[in-house]
């Protein structure tokens, strides 16, 4: 195991959404964080690095401020961090994003042993990008993985299912999408933070990747957002004083109700 690639994304902290008067998401002042599932993906890579001394290369596609999540990746123990940034990448859907990340992986770490991605991002939550990167690179992939291990030259993973979990063996040169909602990154050490500030972050754009505008951004996307809106709630919103008998009565009334 020599090379592990991790794809990460900087996302707004969706637990803290505020709305404008016109019912749009207020983007100014939104705190940007590393997508939590990607932090877990990084941890999975670090756990393997601990037993193999593999090199971890982290990629992210985003505007210049996405460098913050790459610095964080350095702080956690990544070996190389690459930012894919270009005006041409903006308005990319999952297909265009996957093509961009996939092209970069193919170019800069063609000999990867494993690619690890977070299962889904807090903002888009499509859970599609990892699978599409694998499809672009024509490699196999498996998702919903909560544990990755490397034992006796074999990549083993645990996948959750409705009644427990399944153990799989995954061959080299594959992609794994990981999910663990309870993951908490270890507390940062101050010297790791300081060292991370000086590390080099390579930045590449569309020309470096040989992607013309039909392959990325708006034109490279196969889906378009036609409309966005805030979901309207249409419930009765009746608050009553608590009374057991009355409550049971209401429940029975609802049960008889034929819509």
């Amino acid at each position: 195991m020599n090379n592990i690639v991790v794809c990460i994304k900087q996302v707004p902290d969706t637990n803290d959404i505020k709305w404008t008067a016109e019912n749009n998401i207020q983007r100014e002042g939104l705190l940007s964080i590393l997508n939590p599932q990607d932090d877990f993906a990084l941890q999975c890579a670090l756990d393997i690095k601990n037993v193999t001394n593999a090199k971890i290369t982290v990629f992210t596609m985003g505007p210049k401020q996405a460098e913050d999540v790459l610095r964080y990746a350095y702080q956690r123990g990544a070996d190389e961090a690459i930012l894919l940034s270009d005006k041409k990448f903006s308005a990319s859907d999952t297909i265009a994003t996957a093509r961009t990340l996939g092209t970069a992986i193919q170019k800069y770490v063609p000999d990867f042993d494993l690619i690890i991605c977070g299962q889904y991002a807090l903002d888009g939550d499509t859970a599609q990008t990892g699978g599409m990167i694998a499809s672009f690179l024509d490699i196999e992939y498996i998702s919903n993985i909560f544990e990755v291990s490397f034992l006796m030259s074999e990549i083993r993973v645990k996948q959750e299912y409705s009644e427990g979990w399944k153990n799989f063996k995954v061959g080299r040169h594959s992609l794994i999408a990981v999910a663990n909602e309870n993951f908490k990154a270890p507390k940062p050490k101050i010297e790791d933070y300081i060292n991370a500030q000086d590390r080099e972050i390579k930045v590449f754009g569309a020309d470096d990747l040989g992607l013309d505008k039909t392959k990325t951004g708006l034109l490279g996307s196969l889906t378009n957002v036609s409309k966005v809106f805030k979901k309207q709630v249409s419930r009765n919103l009746k608050i009553i004083d608590y009374n057991t008998e009355k409550l049971i009565e209401e429940i029975n009334k609802m049960r008889q109700d034929v819509k």
């Binding site: 959404i17 939550d125 427990g164 378009n224 057991t244 049971i248």
Partner: protein, 331 residues
Amino acid sequence: MSNRELFVCIEEEKEKIRPVSLELLSHARSKEKFEVCAVWIGDSIKAENKKTLLEAGANKIYQIFDKKLNGYNLKYYSSALVEFISLKKPAVVLFGATKQSRELAPYIAFKLNAGLVADCTSIEFEEREGEIKMLATRPTFGGSLMATIVCKTMPQMATVREHILKQGSYQVQNAGTVEVFNPHLKDTTSVIELLSVIKSFESKNDDMQGAEIILSGGLGLKTAENFKKLEQLAQLLGNNVAVGASRGAVDKKLTVKDRQIGQTGKTVAPKIYMAFGISGAIHHLCGVENSEFIIAVNNNKNAPIFESCDLGIVEDAVKVIDEMIEYLTTK
């Protein structure tokens, strides 16, 4: 130029057809714009399953058969489906938004150069310039914002959330012939191998989906004991009453993960959804919004759930559960 076929990729779980596959067939059929085709992958189809598919709205059944398709594997399933879809060129391909399909669909979409909309809560169709365009709506930003998405190319693909669309019933016109397709998988191999399946608990999944009432517990219940009380209350309320939970309660191990409802858990649509000690975060509410009635019990009058319920009670959840149990046992 694609034909007027709409494919629904059928999925099974524990030997039964997953409800979402049937919901998709009915929904598509109700639009009266397509020839609705149920696409079955794997072994032979039992007669009763054929009947179920046709009654749910399928005009036609395709079976993609190869011995490598006995049991899900991304490589084999995707190779077979890509070959079949490229040949048939349907206008639309739909999957239920299950773990398996949410893994398979993006992989296939990329190979087909097709747009894919994930985890939709509504699918509509509109005639635009001689083509039938799919308008697929999905929640984003943890459920706070809805987006309606259009695909630029054919086929138009989407994965759709379970228990949102309604399953209908159709007269079965013909005997239900199955058209079989044999993909070329002879030289296809996979590097992913299933080693073992570890079952750690019996899934209580079935009773939640058909339930008339779901009593759901959140962090406000505080202990696993109180969850047991919720189970007791469920039994006292009669048949078809199931127990659910918020993510917070599951994370704190107050009950099993199988009961989790919400963005990363199950979507339910009972007649009555009763939330005990649940604050009402968007990622939870999006799993219950199709419930007919929502009753909320929470001791915090500012809990967001009070803005999304039909009946709200500001009171300690455990107290209400205790008193309801007492009332129903002494009645």
